[in-house]
């Protein structure tokens, strides 16, 4: 959102100039944030205020600035960001500006450039000639890249607060199992519907508990019905989903009956072997070997999925990426356009996705363990809404809401 910092001086309190400026900003469709105010001690002492004015479009901002300039609010003289060429590949210059996941602007040759792809814990690379700025992860830095150093000329826009109270506000306060889940799931459904209507993408991050708890069919239906655009998971979700599709078991337990299968512990290895022999999940679906389940639905619907492995993985399945830096990049490539992300029963993959997503993306974290949500928010994804519940009833109700 375009914005500008203005300064107001004089007897701005008793003259009502400050409230008048703030009212005018809102009258013209803008918003403001008071950065600081110094009030004069004696009657004759002047006061001073710095205000950041934002508007939905540059023309509106210009109109507001024109009007409030008449009231004495003049733009603060701002400096350009300092750019230092990277002196080696894969490392930032000293004192590089370290990003947040919020919308960020960089001032370059007197102009504010919005940094593309907001992501936390990156640097910002600027191309002054093409007037472009973007976040850049450390491993992608190339010698000579012009990297923002220090804080001057960098501006971060806080998340806008909606005037309507919604579940993403009242739930974001704390994590507790004692919250009305029905309302939250209804609100999550509404957010998913709104995202789809707006043409943006819905992402699901899922752990193997989705399959173990028997919720795989709900997720499969959600995928089939077109509610999911991106799936991010590990080897385990895919393995147990395929085990279930091929043998009816998850971790060797029949999901229908809840009893262990004979030699059931071998099922997941046999499933992995089948898929590896077929040359991958996609090939197994094409060859008619894999006909049901979450992964088959992803292939049939052509939705983007990224599987990132870990050191304890069996197999892994051929699509599972084992180079974590490549996996992060693969995930980055499918994130543009995502506006809602539902994280279900997986801690590491949820934190990984949270690290890469801009703060403006609505995050819903569903886990039986409250600590997972807390960890996610502690790692900077402060916008996450936590829902402490078993994942099966969550997905069942989400499906009921969305299919109704």
């Amino acid at each position: 959102m375009p914005s500008e910092t203005v300064e107001l001086r004089g007897h701005i309190i008793d003259s009502l100039t400050l409230p008048k400026v703030l009212d005018e900003v809102m009258n013209y469709g803008g918003t403001f944030e008071i950065i600081d105010v110094t009030i004069g001690h004696r009657r004759e002492d002047p006061s001073h205020a710095r205000i950041r004015v934002s508007a939905p479009a540059q023309e509106i901002l210009d109109t507001i600035l024109g009007r409030i300039r008449q009231l004495g609010a003049a733009p603060v003289l701002e400096e350009d960001a300092v750019l230092v060429p990277a002196d080696k590949d894969g490392a930032f210059p000293e004192n590089f500006y370290c990003t947040t996941n919020l919308q960020t602007f960089v001032r370059c040759r007197g102009q504010w450039l919005e940094a593309e792809r907001p992501e936390m814990d990156c640097g910002i690379v600027v191309d002054p000639d093409r007037k472009r700025a973007a976040t850049i992860p450390i491993h992608r830095v190339k010698k000579g890249d012009r990297i923002v150093v220090g804080h001057p000329g960098v501006r971060v826009t806080p998340l806008e607060r909606s005037s309507e109270r919604n579940v993403f506000e009242f739930m974001a306060s704390s994590v507790s199992s004692e919250k009305p889940k029905g309302i939250v799931i209804k609100e999550v459904s509404a957010q998913i519907r709104a995202a789809k209507k707006a043409g943006s993408k819905v992402m699901v991050v899922a752990g193997p508990a989705v399959v173990h708890t028997g919720a795989g069919t709900h997720l499969e239906r959600l995928i089939e019905a077109g509610w999911v655009d991106v799936l991010f998971a590990g080897n385990a979700l895919a393995v147990h989903d395929i085990e279930q599709a091929l043998y009816g078991t998850s971790l060797g337990v029949y999901l229908e009956k809840g009893i262990p299968a004979k030699e059931g512990h071998e099922h997941h290895m046999r499933a992995i072997n089948t898929i590896r022999r077929a040359g991958g999940i996609r090939n197994a679906v094409d060859q008619g070997i894999l006909r049901s389940g979450i992964m088959a639905a992803c292939v049939r619907k052509g939705i983007e999925f990224v599987l990132a492995g870990s050191i304890r993985d069996d197999g892994p399945l051929p699509e599972v990426m084992t180079d974590m830096v490549s996996a992060q990049d693969a995930l980055r490539s499918v994130l543009p356009g995502v506006s809602v992300c539902v994280m279900i029963a997986t801690m590491l993959h949820s934190i990984a996705a949270g690290n890469l997503l801009p703060a403006a993306v609505k995050l819903v974290c569903v886990d039986i363990n409250p600590a997972v949500v807390t960890k996610l928010t502690d790692r900077g994804s402060f916008q996450a809404v936590g829902l402490v519940t078993d994942v099966e009833p969550f997905l069942r109700e989400l499906w009921t809401n969305l299919s109704g």
Binding site: G10, H11, D14, S15, L16, T17, E44
Partner: protein, 264 residues
């Protein structure tokens, strides 16, 4: 008794249009203007005992007669005006020379901040009320407050016909003012009513009759004739009201107050 500075209207005329009152098709009658000015001068000096110093008129500067806009005098300090329009910017060297010759320290304002002197700055007790937007810029107010060491309450002027504060606001004493509410917005009206103990609103008719552009000397008020309601109101409050015909100056957008600058 106060001391005023005035300039005789030898070269006064409607030679350009820089406010909604000026119309070159309605020229001023110079001889009549001279007579009106003289009567006003006599009222102040002989009538009320005010000391009036005179500035020599200059050919080609028809608005020099509106002395109030020269600047703001305080002690031996003179805050020089920065006129909005080039037609009046030519007056500045004349004022500057006059004040310099009399030992005043000339204090210029930042060149990009317009300010039109006492036309837009009037004191009520220790507070200076300052108008802005039409002729003066609010950016000048902080500096003026700093020079004078006083609080400056900025009032946005909302109606171009009341383009200077002295056309719609008139201090009567340290605790009373006349004002025309229609010349201000809600904020301005609140500032006036909340910071002055007695506020006397002036009717639209009397405001258009330049009732607020009055000269107040103690309990005497000199103003353009025809503001009957206002005159009655002032008399009921114990003021002696002196109504004079200043019609020729109203053609230029000014009346009694515009013709004088307070020196002390």
């Amino acid at each position: 008794m106060p001391t005023f500075l005035m300039c005789p209207p030898d070269y006064y005329g409607i030679e350009y249009e820089i406010n909604p009152w000026m119309d070159r098709r309605r020229p001023a009658d110079t001889a009549l203007a001279m007579r009106q000015w003289q009567t006003f001068y006599d009222q102040l000096t002989t009538g009320l005992g005010v000391t009036v110093e005179l500035l020599t008129p200059v050919k080609g500067l028809p608005d020099l007669v509106f002395m109030a806009n020269a600047g703001l005098a305080s002690g031996k300090k003179f805050i020089r005006s920065n006129f909005r329009f080039p037609q009046r910017q030519r007056e500045v060297p004349v004022f500057e020379a006059w004040f310099k010759d009399r030992g005043y320290r000339i204090l210029p304002l930042p060149p990009d901040a317009c300010f039109e002197g006492e036309g837009d700055a009037l004191s009520v007790g220790k507070t200076l009320f300052a108008g802005y937007r039409m002729r003066s810029d609010i950016q000048s107010h902080e500096k003026i407050g700093e020079i004078l060491g006083c609080e400056v309450l900025s009032l946005e002027l909302a109606d171009p016909r009341f383009y200077h504060l002295d056309t719609c606001f008139c201090p009567l004493s340290d605790r009373a003012v006349l004002y025309f509410p229609g010349a201000f917005d809600d904020y301005g009206r609140r500032v006036i009513t909340e910071s002055v103990p007695e506020t006397i609103p002036v009717t639209v008719e009397n405001a258009f009759g330049f009732g607020c552009n009055a000269v107040v000397v103690g309990r005497d008020v000199v103003l353009h004739a025809g503001c009957e309601e206002l005159a009655r109101e002032l008399r009921s409050r114990g003021f002696a009201v002196h109504e004079l015909d200043l019609s020729e100056f109203i053609k230029g957008g000014g009346s009694a107050k515009c013709l004088v600058l307070r020196l002390s």
